[in-house]
């Protein structure tokens, strides 16, 4: 019963949130903040050591 009830609320919430993510994604892209784990670290080329 509790599971069904939580699905009833969480499904619309997840759906709205995921769609909002598309808008937020466009904003993030426009601002250039799309780095995978640290956007600040994408600038310099690395000196590699093996």
């Amino acid at each position: 019963m509790a599971g069904t009830l939580s699905k009833l609320f969480f499904f619309p919430y997840t759906f709205v949130l995921m769609n909002w993510a598309a808008v937020a994604g466009l904003y993030a892209f426009a601002r250039g903040s799309t780095g995978v784990w640290d956007p600040a670290g994408r600038k310099a080329r690395a000196p590699w050591r093996w």
């Binding site: 609320f9 997840t14 093996w50």
Partner: protein, 355 residues
């Protein structure tokens, strides 16, 4: 005018979520393109192709050791599997952990260059005929590599995506919220694969032919879409194989999934800048799939807004009923949001009782 917008938005959104899967189901029946998968074994000719597995890592001390162990336990001849951990200037001791694993080649960057840079560097070191890419968090099934490689026996295949299975806290495939969405997504990918190619792989587990790799541009977010799509543009197929499995836990909360989704959707916009030919029907062999699957999802939120706003201006029993249903839907979403916030506050209090 409001009526036109209302119906255009409805038809557009219906197509993205229901019409397109239906189209794929029919397409697959009418024009299937089976994949001639063949499992290699040492008794057959030259046996398995050599594979270089590239795992890019930032700060991954929580997962690094487990991941390396998992890689080494894969069912594949040790002499034919090169494991490369490409480290992007970790600061949490990931490098020490990875270096303690015998049989793992470490590529180390002293300054942060992002995942794309780490992948490029890892591939520079790779010697295998097949490149296998993986993230550090997910766990491969023991036979996953053998399954994925078997697809390359088909000469039209340039890239293969495995299946990521999201598990709930009980260790079963997640069926709530994001889990349900992911299952729906995989069904679409399976159908796309059956007719030609998927417009993107699963970052947790995908492989390509070595010669088809083109270095990623700096800052690329969706390597798992850019790499396969470039291969598709080159005339090869990028397929989905549900027999090559990796496992992950479903995001603990919709908010975490939201953060992940924001990043990947931002990556989709970046993809259009990186590969604009994807929007040219005669250049992109899976133009319909790309527009329906990738672009359609980007447009749905604006469709939802248009659907709601146009509905406000329409009268009559039908339109008023639809409006009431829409309002009810968004009220449910608000209650879901309140529940989620409450749940997280409770979890935080349990994790830190003195706070």
């Amino acid at each position: 005018m409001a009526q036109v917008i209302f119906w255009a938005a409805f038809v557009g959104m219906f197509y993205v979520y229901a019409g397109y899967p239906l189209l794929l189901a029919i397409w697959r029946q009418l024009a299937p393109r089976p994949i001639h998968k063949r499992h290699y074994s040492l008794s057959q000719g030259r046996g398995e192709p050599t594979v270089s597995m590239v795992v890019a890592m930032g700060n991954e001390s929580r997962n690094a050791l487990e991941k390396m162990r998992n890689c080494m336990e894969l069912d594949y001849p040790a002499g034919k599997l090169q494991i490369i951990a490409s480290l992007d200037a970790p600061t949490d001791g990931t490098d020490t952990l990875v270096r303690s694993c015998q049989g793992v080649e470490v590529v180390y960057s002293q300054v942060r260059i992002g995942k794309a840079g780490a992948l490029n560097s890892g591939v520079e070191r790779a010697t295998g005929e097949i490149l296998l890419f993986a993230d550090s968090r997910q766990h491969f099934e023991r036979h996953a590599l053998r399954e994925i490689v078997a697809n390359f026996a088909d000469e039209s295949v340039g890239a293969v995506s495995g299946e990521l299975i999201l598990l709930d806290e009980r260790g079963r495939e997640a069926s709530d919220g994001t889990g349900a969405y992911w299952r729906y997504e995989k069904k679409i990918r399976a159908m796309e694969s059956a007719i030609h190619s998927v417009p993107g792989a699963t970052g947790a587990i995908y492989a390509i032919r070595r010669e088809l790799f083109v270095a990623l541009s700096e800052g690329i977010v969706l390597d798992d879409v850019v790499i396969p799509m470039r291969i598709v543009l080159g005339g090869w197929r990028a397929i989905f194989d549900s027999a090559a499995r990796a496992y992950d836990s479903a995001s603990e909360s919709p908010e975490r999934e939201y953060q992940r989704k924001t990043r990947t959707l931002a990556g989709n916009y970046q993809l259009l800048v990186e590969l604009p030919e994807l929007l040219v029907p005669w250049r992109n062999p899976i133009f319909v799939q790309f527009v329906s699957h990738k672009l359609g999802r980007l447009l749905v939120p604006y469709g939802l807004a248009a659907f709601f706003i146009s509905n406000l201006f329409l009268t009559g029993v039908f339109y008023r009923t639809v409006l009431a249903l829409q309002v009810f839907w968004y009220l449910l979403a608000i209650v879901g949001w309140l529940f989620s916030t409450q749940q997280q506050t409770r979890q935080a209090a349990t994790a830190n009782p003195e706070a």
